[in-house]
Symmetry: D3
Subunit: 250 residues, 6 copies
């Protein structure tokens, strides 16, 4: 089984974190390939940045189409996730979606720990898109500007752990989601020091995607997740153009 993990951020340092946690989470026999967005911003925090990351991720997914059994969109906030699900004929998951699903089976209410105040609106709207906002106990975030996106975990370890305790004690969270690719792997480090289960986006996504690939769901040929109807298009990268013209929709 081969999984393509797309980092919609352009930071190679974040890709390295993602790669490491993906590898640790994968079953024996699962091959992981991480691809970094060829264009966009270093780390996505806003709707506009996500809009760019969505298109970049779609381009990557199209370009490598045929070489993988499933795709992870590896930014919390899931840029382009639903659109890419339409386009691609194998399972596609995102870090937020996977984290929410894992958290939802471990408890009733969950909180999200994030790396910046600005990122909170985008995360909340992603939870709303999943219709799970009423199970969201809170989103808490680091307040200071980040020194280095590649070393957030080390630089703010104590503060991140404090936030985790606050969401349990003050906000009533049953489960903690540590959000964002730059925090990939942190949950694994600190989970034994925390009073409730801790969910990591990358390991949730890899685990759930492996499960989905084994379940082998059929690609929709009707309904809103079938491939977009074949129609005139222009100015698109060739791999996108080819997928859109493949006409698999029934």
């Amino acid at each position: 089984m081969k999984i393509l993990v797309i980092n919609p951020n352009t930071s190679e340092s974040v890709s390295t974190l993602i790669q490491a946690e993906a590898q640790r989470s994968a079953s024996p026999g699962t091959e992981i390939e991480v691809a970094t967005a060829p264009f966009g911003v270093a780390y996505i925090e806003t709707r506009f940045e996500a809009l760019v990351g969505a298109y970049a991720s779609a381009c990557v997914a199209a370009e490598r189409h045929g070489t993988y059994d499933g795709v992870v969109i590896a930014a919390f906030g899931d840029p382009g996730l639903h659109g890419i699900k339409e386009l691609i004929d194998v399972p596609v998951v995102g870090l937020t979606e996977s984290s929410l699903m894992t958290a939802a089976t471990l408890g009733q209410r969950f909180s999200i720990i994030a790396i910046s105040p600005r990122i909170k609106a985008w995360y909340r709207e992603t939870v709303e898109r999943a219709h799970l906002a009423s199970r969201l106990a809170s989103i808490r975030a680091l307040e200071e500007p980040l020194r280095d996106i590649g070393s957030v975990q080390q630089d703010y370890a104590a503060r991140l752990k404090a936030l985790c305790n606050e969401v349990v004690d003050d906000d009533g969270a049953d489960v903690i989601i540590i959000a964002g690719a730059p925090l990939a792997g942190l949950a694994r480090e600190i989970r034994n020091e925390l009073p409730v289960p801790v969910v990591d986006g990358v390991s949730s996504a890899i685990t759930q995607l492996e499960g989905l690939i084994r379940l082998a769901p059929k690609k929709a040929t009707r309904g809103s997740f079938a491939q977009p109807p074949v129609k005139p298009n222009q100015g698109l990268p060739e791999p996108l153009e080819r997928l859109l013209s493949s006409g698999k929709t029934g």
Copy 2:
């Protein structure tokens, strides 16, 4: 890895269906044990019957505690699921919860196909408890009284397939959930004849539970899924009494 699958219905014929689909879905190396509820009704369709099945399932989970790495409550409607999650220190999943999570990653709106009109209210309330009612396109059910709970799939194959098509065409479902232990395995049979992905409770539950066991979430010691506080109790079966007195809550 060993998984205990509890059938909250008392029908052995349903246990057989569950066992077969669980076995087909399990990874190599996963051991499946199916236990049938020692008391209750042949197949649960109502809130009252679920109340009995919840207690029966809790008794079974407590009795075999220590012999498994995870538990599946194998009736759609998930009798007792959240309570049993408090009690038990390894992951516990239910057919509805697992199906909803699988469906939610395969599309935005889903419909449920059920075996009787009476069962619809209980299913809807289970979806509401997951706060996913606004993503539920519809619940459609067989209308006739069932001939035999063990042969529903054979007896109503054509009607069930027709219902599946109706929820896609008329209700806007992106994903179909074929609900209820008596229908375990049907999705596997007919999925290639249907225009959207089809979710089966048993295979979703086994797959997700395997994933959760691999993720190894910590048992909560605070929050609402920690073990119930130690306090006086009476009249309980010894295994329940012992678990409640084990005092693991921090």
Copy 3:
């Protein structure tokens, strides 16, 4: 008119509190009988404990069936309430449901005062089941471990009153619900010292049940509150078995 009040907790001291407030609230001519759960825990705070209390309450309701005109499930959180409504052919009410309905006619937003932090999740979910969470201003609870479940009112009088004022001033509650059988009767004691109406579960339940009995609603013979369909069952206490087999459903 005879009302059976079932205490799903096993504490006789709590039954005594319930009995006293029920008696004070009942109209002349109403006979009150309080039955304590024969098995379960001293006081229910969690979903698991409620699951046990639900089954215990159902057993009591079935055992005494034919001797009463209505039933009160006398634990806030209403263990088993909806299931027992299916089973029984006379009105059945619960402390939470009755309190919510009384509160909803006295104001638009209400808060709940509870005896322990752990109990808050179970209460919130009970309010959600009534679809009234958007009118819930807050749930506030005593923070300390209780000295004695039978003397909570005396031991924490000042703190409970302070919580009542906080929900009005800080949370915007129009009405205060003092929740939980161990606090039965407290509302009556302190209501003149508080700035908004105060609702007590036991007196609300008795009053509303008397009203329902006078309105004499027909037992449903269709829909989701009809008796469960007659079908094979096993291992149930004889009174439950007999009710399930009575076949009154049309």
Copy 4:
């Protein structure tokens, strides 16, 4: 105990229907006085008509203040209900609010049977104001223009019964609310011919109001149901002016 029942419609024939059902529902010792709105329209179906009925009802409630222990606003849609609750220091209930509360204790989902298509929007918004729209299975209404508002029950008996059956069979209602003062008493006539409990606004209101009066809730002195703050006013009927100036708010 004396109850003032205000008919916000100007039709005396409707007042007669209300009076009859109120009398049938009242406990021995309850005195019922019905007052017809001195201005407004014959029967309220729209938001504008309700706006007029609200002011008319407030004028009546103020004028007779001091002569009653509780008030019923006797039009489904509850014109002015929440405002009048602020003004008056004894319990005030409405037909919709009471019906919803009764229905909510008899089942989980309910439907409303109404006398005209136009009235449906106003009813739905009243249910929304109670935050219970997600428990509303449907509103179904007579389609034809009414011959005579005082004889709707006789003129459309068969059609009304048919609508009742439709909401159970097609919409999944557990409970039927027969709405509107012109249908007062119909539920009592036909309830034995219907498969689920049937709720009547007038009898629900009388019964619940009697209960509330016995519970003797304190008039709020803080929060949003305290009396409006004393401030300059002008051009108001003297009884309104006097109540507004009484300054009871703490």
Copy 5:
């Protein structure tokens, strides 16, 4: 184009504030006429006061019918807005509705700044009626009793600005709505000192109403915003009576 602005409060000083901001906001060629409620209270803060203001506003709108191209109900809380929309055959807008629509196009979440704690419940319910409560970040209000309704802006300038900053920093508001006719024009004064867009009810209403008048929507002849059906009425002011009898509904 001529716009009638109805001040549902009886304070002429508030009408003066409204008039000034309406004039500043109007396009060249728009004529503004402000009418003060002939009866009611000095400034509306509660549901009861709004009930009176609704009727007073309806009377004014009816009396001047034929002399205007559109109406503004110029109290935040929009007393009588939906009813008056039924009655009148040209566009009618309210301060809250207009502010919400403007805010909803400037950001995703908004907060409301209000002049008194008591007014918050009425405002929240107005937002709920628009079904936008889930986009409401918070309502914050001046806490002290007002010295003079005509000089609130001057008397509490610093505190109002502080509240504006709090809703951005603490509540996550993207947009600030400065609510209530007594604050008309304040947004214009302080908007350059605040970090997010600030919405004023009067200027939003005038601007949107001008746009609606230009779009020239047809008056509904079916559905719930058609004129109320012609039917017997009594005791109404002659202009209301005439409009209700004009029988334009199809």
Copy 6:
């Protein structure tokens, strides 16, 4: 005042329709410039196509930045709208958002008429993003494959009018939104033949944008609609890169 109207579809024929209706709707003195997406698909119907249109629209908005006072994203579904609002320092509106706001001031519930079944999911999710799904009466669509995107209005005139009547009579819509750039201007043609107000996306957007530009809201410097924080980016078109680096966020 100069308005840039971006057609996220690549069809020039649709741009022509948009241009015509925009011109008809604009005030004297408003200059309209329509720009067609340089890449993407002929007409957007799905999430994936919207993802591409979002990026294309952002590129156009950035490229022409400095030449306009406001932007219309002229596809129903508003591709990229919220992201582009972050990026751009003048008001940006979309067809759906504008239509919803106009509809919301003309009635309480609205329906959407659309050009294809496939497009319905994308529209519903756009309404959900505005949190207005509970006011959406229905979405109805043409069922047949379109002959020519530029002549939909002519080809399906009768069917579109029939759909408009159905949403009023069967779904309870107070207002009809005729959705999608290919239908631009149709509302103007048929509004006098329909029983409720009809909303057109293009004219709503132009009218509201003119109003917003006159209100002159400040660009946010804090909160989630401030410009994205300055940070490393790569591979972006120069105009996007320049805007992202302009560092206006406070």
